[in-house]
Symmetry: C2
Subunit: 428 residues, 2 copies
């Protein structure tokens, strides 16, 4: 077949065929990656970081194209801000890749080992999941962050970014691939889906057996689509409807400080508090409500919460199930721990929920009975983050129940195999 014929074929290939070809190449690269020593994988990430720094002119020029197109297409200021790169942001992206290179390799870790009476030696050993698909929106840093975490844990990755960031993503991906190849690792371990055809996302979601796991990174509509359509396992969270419960035995000053931080430090992150539950017996309620209002937060409360301060608006029934991602907070007064637990069981999105209390028994009941990925005592829900948890970085936060929960980092990108060493044993 001539080169022209190949090019024509490829240009007319269906999204399914494109994804299948990329996935097979990615799986082959992953098998090669699995045989490389840890030092080579770390070196590949350091080389990728260096290549990102060296490619600053190309990457910023590509980003300028995306910004210009975004402005022409009427993207909002917030979207343009997520899309925009500058020398400091690009240096931050390269630094983050280098930091991931320095994290310990989870592959090969022995989870547990047993010696059977018949002499068989059994070990569960961490291995990469395989090929990870990342579906994301306008943040070009995801291209580098996700690639670094996948490669560090021995996985290949198939990246599908948003069309707004297409030039930035291509430039970042090209730099990463140059660095990886220069270190002697397979460049196809990190691939970017070349087509912006939306059907390519559908093909990724349907690629059971070819892609081992999908991680969506972006807004709620993206995550909802991925969760609804995927035949491949998905690691994600849809909502972060996080609660803080100020128990009767909460220290008033601590309660105020935690409530303010949980809501107002950054209102747009998934770990931000969205509902405040105040025990009717908590003595500092008026102070906490006043401090939140004074900090510029809109409060929507039930009848008893409204009685605390005339500025509290009336909550509608939907408020208890709303993730505002803004300086808005729903506030309910509850009569005791059981009522707080029942409210959380009914309305939490199983992301992060916290209690503030000086009562150890109440704290333990809350930790045990609230069925969320992260449960906290006397701390701000804004700590719900892989970096804050000491994981080095995170590919995302998962609120599903299987495989990995809460912040997902390198370990969540691995699975395990059983290694059995015998000396000729046969089963009786």
């Amino acid at each position: 077949m001539s080169a022209t014929a190949t090019a024509t074929l490829s240009a007319t290939a269906s999204p399914e065929a494109v994804i299948e070809r990329l996935a097979r190449a990615g799986r082959a690269a992953q098998r090669e990656l699995a045989r490389l020593p840890d030092a080579t994988k770390a070196a590949a990430l350091r080389a990728a970081a260096a290549a990102l720094r060296a490619a600053e002119p190309e990457i910023l020029a590509a980003n300028a194209q995306d910004i210009a197109a975004g402005e022409a297409n009427g993207l909002t200021g917030a979207m343009l801000d997520r899309l925009r790169l500058d020398p400091a942001r690009l240096a931050g992206i390269a630094d983050a890749v280098e930091q991931v290179a320095g994290l310990p390799d989870p592959v090969g870790q022995v989870i547990d080992a047993t010696h059977r009476p018949n002499g068989l030696d059994l070990r569960r050993v961490r291995v990469p999941v395989g090929l990870i698909g990342i579906v994301y929106e306008s943040r070009p840093n995801v291209t580098a962050d996700a690639a670094a975490l996948c490669l560090r844990s021995g996985n290949a990755v198939l990246l599908r970014g948003g069309s707004e960031a297409v030039h930035s993503n291509r430039a970042i991906h090209a730099a990463l691939a140059r660095g990886i190849a220069a270190a002697g690792a397979p460049a196809e371990a990190v691939q970017l889906v070349p087509t912006q055809d939306r059907a390519a996302v559908g093909a990724m979601l349907a690629a059971a057996g070819l892609i081992d796991m999908i991680v969506p990174r972006g807004g709620k509509s993206l995550v909802a689509r991925v969760q609804a359509d995927a035949r491949v396992p998905v690691l994600a969270h849809l909502d972060g409807i996080c609660h803080t419960y100020l128990h009767a035995a909460a220290d008033p000053a601590m309660a105020k400080s935690i409530a303010l931080n949980a809501k107002m430090r950054r209102t747009g992150i998934c770990g931000a508090m969205e509902t405040l539950l105040i025990d009717a017996a908590f003595p500092g309620a008026v102070e906490v409500v006043k401090a939140l209002l004074d900090s510029g937060c809109e409060l929507r409360g039930d009848a008893r919460a409204r009685a605390l301060d005339p500025r509290v608006a009336a909550a509608s029934v939907d408020d208890w199930d709303t993730e505002y991602l803004d300086a808005i907070l729903s506030v309910a007064i509850v009569d005791g721990l059981d009522e707080a637990l029942a409210h959380i069981a009914a309305h939490s999105s199983a992301h992060t929920d916290a209690i503030v209390t000086g009562d150890a028994a109440a704290a333990e009941r809350f930790l045990n009975e609230v069925d969320s990925a992260i449960v906290m005592v006397n701390a701000s829900t804004q700590f719900a983050d892989g970096g804050e948890f000491g994981l080095g970085a995170e590919i995302g936060i998962a609120t599903g129940r299987l495989h990995a929960r809460g912040p997902v980092a390198l370990e969540g990108l691995t699975t395990y195999k059983w290694q059995v060493r015998g000396t000729g044993q046969v089963r009786p």
Copy 2:
């Protein structure tokens, strides 16, 4: 509403409505179960075992009904054997429930703990998955086995057995529920789907958010349907195409003993060897092939395998991807470890694969590079079993990559939550 009206409603409820009602009741029971002390869960299983023993007359009478119906409907001898209970088999079922009661409770185990520089104390603690759905065929023992494993690990379970075993399953379930309730645990933690309408299985598979995990137990067509249709995560294996590779440095006597055991001990289990790979440099090939043929195994080989013994038939291209579950074995001669690894990568179902060798470096390469749930050196693949692995029992063997791989027992029926204990920390 009158009792008659309720009964009418219930009789005309859609399979989806029936499953939703059962799932909600199961989830409520699971929350209650989660608050019970370990001793109560263990006592509930011991009481369930006692209730099974006490109900022997009813259970055997119900089973006789199923056997009579099965004979009238022309079930095969093998199917009737799987269905049939007698006093010894029923005693074995009760004993198995009692054994699960004695296994350590995984719930509450601390997977790891870290102390952050800011003083936050982080622990990952095992918690139940939630509500497990079991879809199975004609073996009534699954009703008790699966219920015991789920309850021991703090999960509620929704059981959907085959219509051939409907009376047996109802009688076993009734005894279990009596025992569980007598011990003060919620009987609705173990529920049997009351309708044999096949649409109820579809409703279970679609019940994402209501059922947390589905475990199919049965033949390949059942597992294939569950894997194809489920929107709920599935833990299962479709095939057990297990390989044994006799390396050039294998001890001939050990190789013969392992090959015979891996194939012929029991040919119908998923850990039975289905393909034998013999290194062209292995000196004992003729002996191994002769021993397998003499033991009554049909061999289907490539050209070089056929040259070892005139009784070896010609393998077709399909033989390398066939799980016989019978006294039939495909045999290929390979030139070295790399060719063996390539054959396994192309044809293994990722269940269990083994090498026989005296060469430690070859063994390690095999253990590291074969990407199956279980990899073995110098042992029979028939050891692929939760009991043999020291897990006490198993709910099944999984060949998927996420959550749990290989034999799945109590730990595989748990997930974890992050518990964060602070002293007033807020995020800077």
